[in-house]
Amino acid sequence: MKFKIKLFGSTREAVGQKEAEVTFNHEPITVTELKSTLYTVYPALVSGAGYLVVAVNRKVADDTATVTSTDELALLPLVSGG
């Protein structure tokens, strides 16, 4: 299954695309699995890894949360609104 992950700000720039894509041969997967695969496929993300948050269906998700390829996924760097 293909998982598409929206990218913003510094993660979008690091990858050079608005969306990342990773493939798994099973689902659901955990947020931890998703992150580690993203870092393998897109090494440019590793430097900010400690600060990145995964959002699932527009909500912040814990590392233990599970996701499927139909969920809306995003990888969010440190936020600085206001």
């Binding site: 527009r58 760097p77 936020v79 600085s80 609104g81």
Partner: protein, 142 residues
């Protein structure tokens, strides 16, 4: 009412929109683009990026919570995105309440929470280049 927009924010319209005959206090907060930061001595413009759908949902939760907790008459929060010049308004929050204490507290809560729970990113642009502003880890709205 909450909104994410590319357009300049009309501050008078924001203030007018929280007018309420039952309110004795209106508080307006404006966030503006500063000409410098801790890291950059001369900022010329600021670029804001947003995850629109998630940001709208997070703003809505802030609105609901502020109205509920401080019994506000009206609440408006507008965040602009895109490129802004020094002095331009990036965010406007206006609240009206029966008394000033509730209005001040609710407005402070709204801007403090926006900074933690709304997925927005800003990039300083200066003569010597550009950099994403180091922010905070996004927190859950609930």
């Amino acid at each position: 009412m909450i909104k994410i927009t590319q357009d300049p924010i009309d501050v008078s319209a924001v203030t007018d929109s929280v007018a309420d005959d039952g309110s004795g206090a209106t508080v307006l907060f404006l966030g503006t683009v500063r000409d410098h930061s801790d890291e950059t001595s001369q900022v010329s413009e600021m670029y804001y990026e947003v995850y629109t759908e998630m940001a709208e949902a997070a703003l809505k939760e802030i609105e609901d919570e502020a109205i509920r907790r401080w019994k506000l008459k009206k609440f408006v929060a507008i965040h602009r995105v895109g490129t802004m010049q020094v002095g331009e308004v990036s965010v406007a929050i206006a609240v009206s309440a029966e008394h000033r204490k509730e209005a001040f507290e609710a407005c402070q809560y709204a801007i403090d929470t926006i900074k933690k729970t709304v997925p927005l990113w800003k990039k300083e642009i200066s003569g010597s280049g550009s950099r994403w502003v180091k922010g905070v880890k996004l927190e859950s709205t609930k």
